[in-house]
């Protein structure tokens, strides 16, 4: 009998139990499948459950491990993939009706890498339609319905990785993989009380992933701890000749080396002052915790660039081009959310000159941010300045107690700058849970670092998690 304690364990812990043959990958897979089948629909977290594939992979893992061939910490670990990733012979819907029957004859690189690591694919997880890039303004922007956070299912799990976040937080999978263009990993991770990592642009191959923006898309893990993010990232990172943006830099993570020196962290001025009171209080308490093992500098001035506007201009331009076929054929009408139905038509009006100007200013912004980030191990702020909305509440209404637009997935001028700036610059970030806000919705602590410093970010976030227990809390029982 696989207990709930086991199902909510970390990947590292599950991996160790599997390696030492105290835990059967097949039994673990069966247990997660059962939860995915029963709880998944309650959270609108699942598109396709890959039961047969999962059991075949689990049995293969069990056989291999019994014969002495152990592939590493993900061997036999069941996971879920955002339905943005191509899976051979299995529908890949991109969360939207026009692609509901889309089936690829190949696997995305990330799916291949996880299979090579011995991980077990439980299913394809729900997402906001077309990766959330065309302006969706309600949670109900997917043919699977609004993603619901397991902490309070009346509230949005965040987007666009709505299913991966909800499923991981509810203990339906051991970890999941998602993608981020403008906040789609870190925002839902925050709303669901997870550790979510947006790697440096080019760290992980996007081959086989739904393209929203060639110059912004990233792929990364959603886990229950920062350490787990390191383990998963280690398996999926690396050069891929099928994605020209990938780097040849290595990322190898087996665990964190002991660290003698204190972290050097900075609190970004303007990142939390106008947040919801609970978000602000949780952030301030988190900084106190961090101060025990880090030198924290306050009131860091962020380079003054219009990050949200740059992101929006690039996102709408590239996104409209990426989904031009839907625009030109009128199939945008099949989208669930009204803003998504017309977003592509708005995108066609952005001039090539305005797009290029955004890319020119982006380079200056990236250079300025790099100069600032080079002075710190990480810059800090709340991941979102408000907790998530009710699933039936439009995003364009001000969140209670926060600045306008603070909770939106699409960065707006008054939102905290860390998420849009980090995406514009292509630099890594990790969010970890740091308490609860209104309506029992988790809040997140954001660590933003210089390019290629994932290991340092994981170390800082891991140190915070060792000093707190937010990541060990579990949402209310759903079955």
């Amino acid at each position: 009998m696989v207990t709930e304690d086991v199902l909510f364990s970390s990947v590292r812990s599950l991996g160790e139990s599997i390696r030492t043959r105290k835990l059967s990958p097949v039994e673990l897979t069966e247990a997660y499948l059962k939860r995915l089948e029963i709880i998944g629909p309650k959270l609108n977290a699942v598109v396709t459950i890959t039961r047969d594939l999962a059991l075949a992979q689990a049995k293969a893992a069990e056989r291999e491990i019994a014969s002495g061939k152990y592939r590493g910490p993900l061997h036999g670990i069941p996971y879920g993939a955002k339905d943005a990733f191509a899976t051979k012979g299995i529908p890949t819907t991109w969360g939207t009706a026009p692609y509901r029957n889309q089936v690829f004859d190949y696997d995305a690189t990330i799916i291949t890498k996880l299979a090579d690591a011995g991980a077990v694919l439980l299913g394809k997880l729900a997402m906001v339609e077309l990766v959330g890039g065309l302006g969706y303004n309600t949670a109900d922007a997917s043919f699977t319905g609004p993603g619901r956070t397991p902490w309070n299912p009346d509230y949005f799990s965040g987007g666009s990785s709505s299913g991966p976040a909800a499923a991981t937080a509810a203990g339906l999978v051991a970890f999941s993989v998602g993608g981020e263009t403008g906040g789609s990993i870190v925002q839902p991770s925050s709303h669901c009380g997870l550790a979510g990592m947006r790697p440096t642009y080019g760290r992980v191959s996007r081959h086989g992933a739904a393209t929203l923006c060639w110059t912004l898309d990233k792929v990364g893990p959603l886990c229950r701890s920062a350490d787990d993010c390191g383990l998963v990232l280690s398996a999926i990172a690396g050069y891929d000749r099928l994605d020209q943006a990938t780097s040849r830099r290595k990322f190898i993570y087996t665990g964190l080396p002991s660290r003698n020196k204190r972290f050097k962290l900075g609190v970004v001025k303007g990142s939390y002052e106008r947040a919801q009171p609970e978000v602000r209080a949780n952030f301030e308490k988190s900084v106190e915790v961090l101060s025990k093992f880090a030198d924290v500098t306050h009131d860091i001035e962020f380079p003054d660039f219009p990050y949200g506007q740059i992101l929006s201009t690039i996102l709408y331009s590239e996104g409209t081009a990426a989904f031009r076929e839907l625009v030109e054929t009128g199939r945008m009408r099949e989208m669930q959310n009204h803003a998504d139905r017309i977003g592509g038509y708005i995108g066609t009006t952005i001039s090539a000159v305005d797009y290029l100007q955004a890319q020119r200013v982006r380079k200056l912004a990236r250079q300025a941010l790099d100069e600032l980030l080079s002075k710190y191990d990480a810059l800090l702020g709340p991941t979102t300045t408000a907790v998530s909305r009710r699933v039936d509440e439009p995003f364009n209404r001000p969140a209670a107690g926060a600045s306008r637009g603070a909770a939106s997935a699409t960065p707006q001028p008054q939102a905290a700058p860390l998420v849009p700036a980090g995406n514009v610059a292509g630099v890594p970030a990790i969010t970890v849970p740091n308490g609860f806000g209104q309506n029992n919705i988790p809040t997140g602590l954001h660590f933003l670092g210089a390019a290629w410093t994932e290991q340092t970010l994981i170390a800082a976030a891991d140190a915070f998690q060792r000093a707190t227990d937010w990541h060990q809390r579990r949402p209310p029982k759903l079955m």
Binding site: V327, H338, I342, A358, R362, K363
Partner: protein, 96 residues
Amino acid sequence: MAKRNRRRFLQSIAAAPLGVACAESAQAQEISSPLAGQVDELAELVNLRYGKYLTDGDMPEIKRGIERMLRNAETIGKVKITNANEPDFMFHPFGD
């Protein structure tokens, strides 16, 4: 799905139900900025190219979106750059 044309679009704004008319009236005020002319012209371009796919209710929201994009461009345009500032991507010929 109702096909659009310019006349019907203008009529739809004038003849919108009360609740929508109130909201649109507020938005119309919002767009009575120096950008209003550009917004109207770009919206008409959208209408000419894609009007067959749009309904009467779409255009006010499309206009608001176009205005947002123009404002974004204005804000970005205020950042000082020089002739030498390249976009944040480079062309690489094969074999290089």
